[in-house]
């Protein structure tokens, strides 16, 4: 491998990995954290590796799950609640929503959880140790600040807020709460397949990255309904450009973060376009958008999202001069250039045909799984959605931490800055620069 050619790219990543602001840690936490630099990665890298591997480490977890609450029981709140219910170390103690209908749904889906209309009542409950904030983006700030003030550990959905000021206030509060966990809902940093590909790219397997491309296509109105007109208006904040960050900010934030993470850079500008191509129902947010995200290293990311066509769904592509990787549906494949150097292992790897191309399947933890007697190529019986892995990382931090979250306040803030600026570009049909100092907290 041509090491010198890769050096600038690798050094960027290493610098980024080592410049995460450390949390203040008590002596107890320091002692625990001594073994956690690697544990954080191991735990977040996927539960196909038996959890018993982690059980020998020092922990305060004595078998009693941590009582938690989900605040906001809309579509995403329901996904979070289902994931919490599926994590052994967490107990879904309460679901909070100020809409009685949502609480009725909570009763059906999670009859064991208390149903609470006012989030302050959740925060006043000393038994609840952590809250998952899944309300409308513009409602995050007050809830997160109050929750941190009340001493709760906080998981806040991304984007953190719909304004830079609110996002900064949230992130600063997260940083200031030194003995509390603050994790932003930047999902793929804890997803095993993405983590595996991240390491793979870092090893130089695709050569010099040239560009990235992602898409998110779904045929859906993105509208919510209610029997009450006033409530319907509140539920449809996503369609209101004054409250919503649009498709690129509310959905694309996750895929843009993947690109930034793997390239090891922060975007410096975004050019955006879009229109209302189908859902002309009074909304002010565009239903079809395209954007080009520029990085300082010269690589660009092409992104498009639409609510008009479901064709080809969602995926992420990472193009390098030796190979291209596609990530979709929790799986990944690599397509090598003819002149790319042999990596050695690929002759033994599973290969799948894609029209005229042959993709080499990239499997997270393949070597370890083989050592455990499992077939890495078989469908993973323990496969979980990205939100599960994000919440499991949060739960592991509750048990063994606090240590700096993989998606902590800084990352949550940075990704929100990009989301806000990208939405500004799309709504205005223009190029918007993101000065480096805007990323500073």
């Amino acid at each position: 491998m041509d090491v010198t050619r890769r050096t600038p790219f690798l050094s960027d990543i290493i610098r980024r990995l080592t410049t995460v602001a450390p949390k203040h840690l008590s002596r107890r936490n320091f002692l625990k954290t001594g073994s956690l630099g690697t544990l954080a990665g191991v735990l977040a890298s996927g539960e196909r590796i038996p959890s018993a591997m982690a059980s020998a480490l020092e922990t305060d977890f004595n078998g009693n799950p941590f009582p938690c609450a989900v605040i906001g029981f809309g579509e995403w709140g329901r996904e979070i609640a289902a994931a919490v219910e599926d994590i052994e170390e967490l107990q879904l103690a309460a679901i909070c929503d100020n809409f009685p209908l949502m609480l009725r749904r909570a009763q059906r889906a999670h009859p064991q959880a208390a149903r609470i209309a006012d989030y302050r009542e959740v925060l006043d409950n000393p038994d609840i140790v952590a809250v998952f904030v899944a309300t409308a983006t513009h409602e995050h700030k007050d809830i997160v600040l109050d929750a941190l003030q009340a001493g709760k550990h906080v998981y806040c959905e991304a984007p953190l807020a719909n304004t830079i000021e609110d996002a900064r206030a949230i992130a600063q509060a997260g940083l200031a709460a030194q003995d509390q966990i603050f994790q932003a809902g930047v999902l793929y940093r804890t997803e095993p397949q993405y983590r595996s590909v991240f390491g793979f790219v870092r090893s130089g397997a695709i050569g010099r990255p040239a560009m990235t491309r992602s898409q998110w296509h779904q045929k859906t109105s993105w509208r919510r309904s209610s029997s009450s007109g006033e409530r319907a208006q509140a539920l449809n904040w996503r369609l209101d450009q004054d409250l919503s960050l649009g498709l690129i900010g509310e959905v694309g934030i996750q895929q843009i973060d993947v690109s930034s993470w793997i390239l090891g850079q922060k975007p410096k500008a975004v050019s955006g376009f879009g229109g209302i191509m189908h859902w002309n129902d009074g909304r002010t947010v565009k239903d079809t958008i395209q954007a080009m995200i520029e990085y300082p290293g010269g690589e660009n990311m092409m992104y498009d999202a639409t609510l008009v066509s479901g064709f080809d769904a969602a995926y992420d592509l990472l193009f390098g001069d030796d190979a291209t990787i596609i990530l979709r549906d929790g799986k990944a494949w690599m397509f090598k250039e003819v002149d790319a150097p042999m990596l050695g292992w690929e002759v033994y790897a599973r290969k799948d045909r894609f029209y005229k191309e042959t993709g080499i399947a990239l499997l997270a933890n393949a070597t370890k799984l083989e050592a455990l007697g499992q077939d890495p190529a078989a469908d993973d019986p323990n496969a979980k959605p990205p939100i599960w892995h994000a919440l499991k990382a949060f739960a592991d931090n509750l048990i063994y931490g606090p240590f700096p979250a993989v998606a902590g306040p800084e990352l949550g803030y940075e990704s929100t800055v990009v989301a806000i600026k990208a939405n500004e570009a799309v709504q205005g049909g223009k190029r918007v620069e993101i000065p480096d100092d805007l990323y500073q907290l």
Partner: protein, 332 residues
């Protein structure tokens, strides 16, 4: 004004929601939300996906209690009640028998198992071997080899949940069906008369085939089970026998013959279970008031046409042609 129509694939079949009304954007939004709920239910109860909650239960519950979601606990508790109410003729543990009969997968050709294989199955079927601990929110199989397959009730369950979401959104008029074998309605059709659900004769493939009868359904649910469809013909004996994908849990035998069963009630899940049970035990009468009013009717096609083997034909069921001489129930 054209109603909003949403169609999507889930649970290996086609679901369709018909939502009449003036506010198309809101109707569509409500329909999409209901559709997502159906897909969530599919993900959770998918027997074939190794990562589903049901598969995890099937893998681990014979070794130790498995913690389950609230939704899984609710559905399994309902299955336990329906198993009891149907005298054991609805049983979600028949998966090993379906496999033995070669009816597990759509592409399977079907086969008649040996008497020894059937005998061996009896130890591996029985809802009584599923220990549901509502306090601990866990499930345990008290015997090795038990496998839960919720296919006999999940479609109806999903339709019931979808209906709830639509009603909560203020929808007062809707028709929902899953694979045309289970349907629920909200209110009446836009004309103000009950929705009419046509029951077709699965053995009449002629171009002039018409409904066997139409069932009026105002804010109700209906399910039909039949032998024809996912079935195979065994020609090894003196006569040809068609076996369908419904198993009699008591015997492990696949149901055979030109049969049809229909259940009508408030809940599509209840109807799903009862129509399955009636096909498995076609002479079993349905007890009214067991879990809300249920009307169940089992039919057998003979040389002289369709006859009723259990239950009755309600006078409100209409037919485009002359109805066969079905016994009819009192008009209540």
């Amino acid at each position: 004004m054209q109603p909003v129509r949403l169609a999507f694939r889930a649970m290996a079949t086609r679901f369709e929601f018909v939502l009449p009304g003036p506010d198309a954007p809101s109707l569509r939004a409500a329909g999409e939300e209901a559709m997502r709920e159906v897909k969530r239910i599919e993900d959770r109860f998918n027997f074939y996906s190794p990562a589903s909650e049901l598969s995890r239960l099937n893998r681990d519950a014979a070794s130790a209690p498995v913690r389950c979601s609230g939704m899984m606990m609710r559905l399994l508790a309902a299955c336990r009640d329906l198993h009891r109410q149907t005298g054991g003729h609805f049983d979600p543990t028949v998966a090993p028998a379906l496999a033995a009969w070669g009816l597990r997968h759509q592409q399977d050709a079907g086969r008649v198992p040996s008497p020894e294989a059937l005998e061996a199955l009896t130890d591996r079927i029985g809802m009584e071997h599923v220990d549901i601990d509502e306090q601990q929110r866990s499930v345990r199989f008290t015997r090795e080899g038990i496998q839960l397959d919720l296919g006999g009730v999940a479609k109806g369950w999903a339709l019931d949940e979808a209906r709830l979401i639509l009603e909560e959104s203020g929808i007062e008029c809707a028709l929902l069906h899953g694979g045309t074998s289970a349907a629920v309605t909200i209110g009446t059709d836009p004309d103000g008369t009950p929705w009419k659900i046509g029951i077709e004769d699965p053995y009449d493939a002629s171009e002039t085939a018409s409904w066997l009868f139409a069932v009026p359904l105002e804010s109700g649910a209906l399910s039909v089970s039949g032998v024809r469809g996912k079935s195979f013909v065994d020609a090894s004996g003196e006569t040809q026998t068609e076996y369908g994908h419904v198993i009699n849990p008591r015997t492990g035998h696949a149901v055979s013959g030109p049969r049809l069963a229909l259940a009508v009630s408030d809940s599509a899940a209840v109807c799903d279970a009862w129509s399955t049970a009636l096909l498995a035990a076609p002479d079993k009468p349905v007890a009214d008031g067991v879990a809300g009013p249920i009307m169940g009717t089992a039919f057998l096609k003979t040389d002289s046409g369709w006859t009723v083997t259990a239950g009755s034909v309600h006078p409100s069921w209409t037919s485009p042609g002359a109805l066969p001489s079905f016994p009819t129930s009192s008009d209540d």
